[in-house]
C-alpha cells in the first residue's frame, strides 16, 4: 500500500515510522501523525527524504532518484 502525494509516494509496507525523513525535510513538509508519515503542500520534491529514509520507503513520483 502506498500513500501518494504530489511529489513523493511512501510505501507503507516498508515505512518504519522512524521520523528520519520528518526531521530531515528542509521544507518541513513531512509529518508523523497517528504514527503514519504524510506530506503536505510545502513539499517541493527535493528528494532528500528518499535518501535519508534508512529502508528506501520514499520514492519520487516522477521516478527520478535522489536529489
Amino acid at each position: 500500500m502506498k500513500s501518494e502525494f504530489e511529489w513523493i509516494s511512501i510505501d507503507l509496507q516498508l515505512c518504519m515510522h522512524c521520523g528520519a525523513c520528518v526531521g530531515t525535510c528542509p521544507n518541513n513538509a513531512l509529518f508523523l501523525h497517528d504514527l503514519t508519515v504524510g506530506a503536505n503542500e510545502k513539499c517541493k520534491g527535493c528528494g532528500t527524504c528518499t535518501l535519508v529514509c534508512p529502508v528506501g520507503a520514499i520514492e519520487k513520483e516522477d521516478g527520478s532518484e535522489g536529489r
Binding site: 528520519a20 520528518v22 526531521g23 508523523l32 535518501l51 535519508v52 528506501g56 532518484e65
Partner: protein, 396 residues
C-alpha cells in the same frame, strides 16, 4: 473539547523529556508529559550504548532489568581488520553499559511520575497554541478526542523529528553533512565477544560506523549509520548493513529479533534552544555527540538542568526567554565545548581514507592510547605519521 491547565507541558517521553519532567515536578511545578506512542520506550530507536559514569551523575539507580549487559571495553576495527582494544574507562562516551531502553525509558518516566508528573500516552501534538505570538500551550489529538493543553511553558523533547522547534520558530535546521541515518538489527545466534562493544570504521560505513553492542552472550544490536551527504541511492543504509552482515561470518548466521531505523544529528551546538515560554531538550535541541551519535547521557544531563530551571521559573512566575537563560547557560557549561570539539573532529574523520584509518588504528593498537580523546590519539600517532597529525592541527 477537553482542556488541561498546567504549568509545564513536556512533549515526548524519552530520557530527556522524562528527566526534565522529573526535576520540574520535584521543584513544585505541575507537569503534564505527552507521548505519541502507546508505550514509553518502545519501539526502540537506539543502539542502547551508554557510559557507566552517567548513572550516579544523573541521580539514578535503575533496576537490573534496565541494563542488558555490562561490557569491559570497546574494540575499534579498521577497514583492513586492525583492532584497537580499549577498556571502558579509556573509552569514555557510550561504552560500558548496553541498556534495555524498553525498561530504562519507563524507569525514567516512573521517576517523573513519582514526583507528580501526569502522563498522557497515544497523544499526538498537532500544533502550538499562541497568544500575541507567545506560546501558551499545545493542541493534541488523543484516544479521548481533541485536547488543548494550556501551559505556561512548552518543552519540546520530541526527538530528531521535532516539530515543536519548527512551530516555535527556533532554528534547528541541519546541514546534510550533519545528519546520520541509521539502521539496526538485534541479531541472535551470532558469534561475538559479548564483553566488548565493537565499532568498525571506514568505507564499510562512509561518514559513520558499524556498531555491535552485545545484549547477551550471543545477541547484539548490530547497526550502522551513514552520513546523509554521502548517500547516493534510496535504501542505501539498510542495504549497506545487510551487505556488512553477509560478509561477516560471525554475523551472517544470526536471526533478527528486531529492526530499528532512525536518524541522528551530528552538528555543532545550535545557537539557541529557548524562547519565551518554550524550551528544547535532548535530540530536538541537537544535544547529540557528533562522533558517537549518542544522545541519552546528554539528554539526561540537559534534562536535569531544564527541569531545575523550570522549577525556579514556576516559583518566580517567569517563563520569559530571559528566565530560561539559566537552562541555556547551564547545559552549555556542561556539554557545549565537548559537542563542539567532537563536531570538529567528526568533520575531519568523515574525510579520512581507509588507509589512514588503518594506519591510525594499527599504530594505536601497538603503542597503546591512554584515553580515547582526539588529543591522546594524535599524540600517539604523531611519531609515526606526522603527516596525519598535521591534517588535524587546527584541533590541537
Amino acid at each position: 473539547m477537553k482542556i488541561i491547565e498546567t504549568d509545564i507541558v513536556v512533549i515526548g517521553a524519552g530520557p530527556a523529556g522524562s528527566t526534565t519532567a522529573r526535576y520540574a515536578a520535584k521543584g513544585g511545578a505541575k507537569v503534564v508529559m505527552i507521548e505519541k506512542r502507546q508505550e514509553i520506550g518502545s519501539p526502540v530507536r537506539c543502539g542502547e550504548g551508554i557510559s557507566k559514569g552517567l548513572l550516579p551523575k544523573m541521580d539514578i539507580d535503575p533496576p537490573a532489568r534496565c541494563i542488558a549487559r555490562e561490557v569491559v571495553g570497546a574494540k575499534i576495527v579498521s577497514p583492513a581488520g586492525h583492532v584497537l582494544t580499549i577498556s571502558e574507562e579509556q573509552a569514555g562516551n557510550e561504552v560500558g553499559i548496553v541498556l534495555d531502553r524498553v525498561f530504562f525509558d519507563k524507569y525514567l518516566a516512573k521517576l517523573a511520575a513519582d514526583e507528580g508528573t501526569e502522563i498522557l500516552l497515544k497523544t499526538t501534538v498537532v500544533g502550538l497554541l499562541t497568544e500575541n505570538g507567545r506560546v501558551t500551550g499545545a493542541r493534541a489529538t488523543s484516544i479521548e478526542g481533541d485536547l488543548e493543553i494550556h501551559a505556561r511553558c512548552v518543552v519540546g523533547a520530541d526527538g530528531f523529528e521535532s516539530q515543536i522547534s519548527r512551530w516555535a520558530g527556533i532554528d534547528t535546521k541541519l546541514n546534510l553533512r550533519d545528519i546520520t541515518s541509521c539502521f539496526q538489527y538485534r541479531l541472535t545466534g551470532i558469534d561475538i565477544d559479548p564483553d566488548y562493544c565493537e565499532f568498525t570504521l571506514g568505507s564499510a560505513a562512509p561518514g559513520g560506523y558499524v556498531w555491535i553492542f552485545p545484549k547477551d552472550e550471543d545477541t547484539a544490536n548490530v547497526g550502522l549509520g551513514l552520513q546523509l551527504s554521502q548517500l547516493k541511492n534510496p535504501g542505501e543504509i539498510k542495504r549497506t548493513l545487510d551487505k556488512f552482515i553477509t560478509n561477516d561470518e560471525r554475523l551472517r548466521k544470526g536471526e533478527p529479533l528486531e529492526m530499528v531505523s532512525g536518524a541522528v544529528s551530528t552538528c555543532a551546538p545550535i545557537e539557541k534552544t529557548i524562547g519565551d515560554a518554550i524550551l528544547l531538550v535532548g535530540d530536538s535541541a541537537r544535544q547529540i555527540d557528533p562522533i558517537t551519535g549518542g544522545g541519552i547521557s546528554n539528554g539526561c544531563i540537559a534534562g536535569k538542568i531544564a527541569g531545575e530551571t523550570l522549577a525556579i521559573a514556576t516559583k518566580e512566575n517567569d517563563f520569559s526567554e530571559r528566565s530560561l537563560q539559566r537552562y541555556e547557560r547551564g547545559w552549555r557549561e556542561e556539554i557545549e565545548e565537548r559537542l563542539y570539539l567532537n563536531w570538529m573532529a567528526k568533520e575531519k574523520l568523515v574525510t579520512l581514507s581507509d588507509e589512514t584509518f588503518d594506519k591510525i588504528i594499527e599504530t594505536l593498537s601497538e603503542v597503546g592510547v591512554e584515553k580515547l580523546s582526539t588529543l591522546s590519539i594524535l599524540q600517539a600517532v604523531k611519531k609515526r605519521y606526522p603527516e596525519i597529525v598535521a591534517e588535524f592541527s587546527d584541533l590541537l
